[in-house]
Amino acid sequence: MTVPVTIRLQKEDFDVAREVAALSRGRTDIGAVVSFSGICRSDKADGEGDAIAALVLEHYPGMAEEEIARHAEEAVSRWPITGLTVIHRFGRIAPGDNIVLVVTASAHREAAFHAAEFLMDYLKTRAPFWKREEGSSGSSWVDAHDRDDTAAARWAKS
């Protein structure tokens, strides 16, 4: 059976409840649904200076969808999941607003948790998105974190 995979890149906000319901509605073979919502914080990524006014997310149209699809496919092949959804916003996002959503469904909780963590770690390090912080004193690009690379590395197949 084909596992339903939904990938959307959009400027608009998303509705966590609708996406969770979409993966489980009308099915009785799903025991676990994990959702991860990534939200814009107001503190700067480097922890210094003033609060940010907004994040601006730039992406590589075309590649972003394809790269996420490749990792979604890998998640489906590695864990017995029954459905997954990835939504990533781009454009201007205010503190407190949603940035990214990953929802995974499975018969068992381990698979749902692992697939969601795997997808988030890869979104952080491999999906072609770049964050710029806008503040009262100008704007600057967010640096990549070594700890995100470390987190992603744990999923590498030996």
Binding site: M63, H88, L123, T125, P128, F129, R132, W141, A144
Partner: protein, 83 residues
């Protein structure tokens, strides 16, 4: 070949994309970075730390020693910060 730039690479180069036809001696992604760096100050600035630059060929991540022969679309960008 179409060359794309994103985030601060795009800002430094001053454009989002351009069509380029590098000479045959430019064989790898690293060669292309070196060749671009000599096209002007804006490129030299964008690629001043070539090891930091990430690249994709035809929308797939590649290492800088990857050959560019046959590439339709080469993209340069900083490490990703999505998610």
């Amino acid at each position: 070949m179409k060359v794309l730039y994103f985030a601060w690479v795009r800002e430094r180069v001053g454009k989002a994309e351009e069509a380029l036809d590098p000479p045959p001696a430019v064989a790898t992604v690293a060669d292309l970075i070196a060749w671009l760096s000599q096209r002007g100050d804006e490129y030299a600035y964008a690629f001043e730390k070539p090891k930091v630059i990430r690249a994709a060929i035809d929308r797939m991540h590649v290492n800088q020693d990857t050959a560019i022969a046959g590439a339709r679309e080469v993209a340069f960008f900083p490490p990703m910060t999505g998610g």
